[in-house]
């Protein structure tokens, strides 16, 4: 499945400072009928996060202070980890900023 993943607010530092990733996440090999955010998070952790994974995830979800946006909508509105992704979805992971 073709997805666009974006990292911001400093999270890009965990993936070699690259903000936008065009990725192809396989579903057949794992025998999955559909791709959920839960699967995508573990895929990101394995394939994109190069350092300090604890800065990205806590348990099976994102760490506190990270907003997840699927097609510019907070994932709280679509079912968080259970959200089913579709072809060409854009998923943004953004760490909240506190500076000023």
């Amino acid at each position: 499945m073709q997805l666009t993943l974006e990292f911001g607010g400093g999270l890009e530092l965990l993936c070699n400072s690259v903000k936008i990733h065009q990725v192809n996440v396989g579903t057949q090999a794992e025998g999955m009928k559909q791709l959920t955010m839960k699967h995508l998070l573990s895929w990101v952790r394995t394939n994109l996060i190069k350092e300090r994974p604890e800065m990205f995830m806590k348990g099976d979800t994102v760490r506190p202070g990270v907003l997840v946006l699927i097609n510019d909508c907070d994932w709280e509105l679509s079912g968080q980890l259970e959200t089913v992704l579709e072809e060409k979805d854009v998923v943004v992971f953004i760490s909240t900023l506190h500076g000023g």
Partner: protein
């Protein structure tokens, strides 16, 4: 360099600059005192503060709402069909509290004062520092001369001729940010009431300060303040215009407005402290908080004047580097929210007793962290280190700051191995020690000593702790890092 005349030496010029700066500071003090007196006179009269040199036309009101001066001053707002007299009148009746007069607060304050918010409060306990000036400027009208012009009907109109300067200006270095910002706001619009709160915003004073305002602008720079300001807004039912900026990114949203979410609805659990970067450590491009601060002023104006759609339930994300702004939809008010949810029990008393530093595991004050990881014998002051190297001690100095910090300034002959790559580059240390030992043939029996330095003396301790584990048991950290070197050894050494 070319010098004109015998008398004109650099020393003379410096003396004259110093003397002029002193006079300037005295005059500015006098102006602030007079302005304070003027504002107390006006509040006694029950009138709005007016420009002292302007004839007192202001009390005459046309159409029952705006005075002639106000119609002229705010004419461009009044000409907007979607804004107009009604919105301007709402604005003039409103009050906004800006917490933090830094990178976000300074530009926000400028526009809030200029646009005619009736009363603007400024909270900050900090003083102006030179390294703030790239982003924390508010515009100062150095001279506010009023002259009278006659239009074709023979009526006098008053125009202010203004000389633009930028502040917090260098003249205010070392003085309170609130004073500096207030002076700028008064100079830009003397008809706005500016209230100075020269204190840190804490649970002990927050309710009393915030209660007097309609709208709150969060222009602070740390996590505990953001939770504290949010909770105070929830308790008092005030809309919160929240902005943040770091590096080349900014974020903006309106909380606790019209049934929308609060900060805790979005972030019920505070982030780990390692995820909370500060501008003082990670850097920020000055214009980025400038943009976000201006957008905060815009949202405050919309809420105050009741026009447009405030950014509630949505968040604006700015990526300056790629010139992209996206506005995303965020969750609504959470029923489980501990501050504003259905079963929330937050009260004024609970708010006063809540420990925000403990909750977020980070300090409210922005003073940098001071670790104390090592025993005294594993540490050395910058002065002692200087004495030892002046005596020709054979040594290696490892600077563990990130490479881009090292490029700003470094001590001569230091070896830069950033803390994050210390593990993989460890072999460079014994190599450097051996090289130093070989260079000093006179005292071959003695090993080169190993010192570690960083910016403030925290990472150097972490590095020494690691080096001890790896067998470099004589490694010492230089207490207080390069900042202490600049403070105690070489005052000419640049700090950042």
């Amino acid at each position: 360099m070319d010098s004109n005349g015998v008398g004109e030496t650099a020393t003379h010029i410096r003396q004259e600059i110093a003397s002029l700066q002193k006079t300037k500071a005295q005059i500015e003090d006098r102006i602030s005192a007079l302005q304070a007196r003027l504002s107390s006179c006006s509040s006694e009269d029950g009138n709005e503060e007016t420009n002292s040199s302007a004839p007192r036309h202001t009390e005459t009101t046309f159409s029952g709402q705006l005075s002639a001066d106000m119609i002229y001053r705010y004419s461009r707002h009044l000409l907007l069909p979607s804004f107009g007299v009604e919105a301007q009148a709402n604005l003039l009746k409103s009050s906004v509290l800006v917490i933090g007069a830094g990178g976000l607060g300074a530009p926000a304050l400028l526009y809030l004062a200029a646009c005619g918010v009736g009363r603007v409060g400024i909270v900050d306990h900090d003083v102006v520092e030179l390294n703030n000036l790239h982003r924390q400027m508010t515009i100062k009208f150095g001279q506010l001369n009023t002259w009278t012009m006659y239009n074709s009907y023979g009526f006098a109109t008053h125009t202010a001729k203004c000389l633009l300067q930028i502040i917090h200006t260098e003249a205010y270095i070392g003085r309170s940010k609130v004073e500096s910002a207030a002076a700028a706001c008064r100079a830009i619009n003397s008809s706005v009431q500016i209230v100075e709160h020269k204190e840190a915003f804490r649970t002990s004073n927050a309710l009393e300060i915030m209660r007097k305002y309609d709208i709150v602008v969060d222009a602070t720079d740390n996590v505990p303040s953001r939770y504290m300001i949010n909770d105070c807004c929830v308790v008092l039912g005030k809309p919160l215009i929240s902005g943040a900026a770091l590096g080349l990114e900014g974020q903006l949203t309106v909380y606790n407005y019209n049934g929308g979410p609060c900060y805790r609805c979005l972030f019920p659990t505070p982030p780990p402290t390692t995820a909370c970067q500060r501008c003082a450590d990670s850097g920020v491009l000055g214009v980025v908080p400038g943009i976000i601060g201006c957008l905060q002023a815009l949202e405050a104006i919309k809420v105050a004047s009741a026009v447009g759609e405030p950014l509630s339930g949505r968040m604006l994300l700015l990526d300056a580097l790629s010139a992209r702004i996206r506005v995303v939809k965020i969750r609504g008010r959470s029923l489980q929210c501990e501050a504003c949810g259905e079963n929330a029990t937050l009260t004024e008393q609970k708010f006063r007793d809540f420990d925000y530093e403990k909750f977020t595991q980070s300090p409210l004050s922005t003073s940098p962290l001071k670790l104390d990881l090592l025993p005294a014998e594993a540490r050395i002051t910058s002065k002692d280190y200087n004495d030892r190297i002046s005596n020709g001690e054979t040594h290696v100095l490892v600077d563990v700051r990130p490479a881009h910090h090292y490029k700003i300034i470094s001590l001569p002959k230091s070896l830069n191995i950033p803390f994050t790559s210390l593990e993989q580059r460890l072999s460079e240390i014994p190599a450097a020690l051996a090289r130093e030992k070989d260079n000093k043939t006179d005292d071959a029996s003695r090993d080169a000593s190993l010192y570690v330095i960083c910016r403030r003396g925290n990472d150097s301790q972490r590095a020494v702790e690691y080096l001890h584990k790896m067998g470099f048991t004589s490694a010492k950290d230089i207490i207080g890092g390069l900042e202490s070197w600049a403070h105690d050894v070489d005052p000419q050494f640049p700090t950042y």
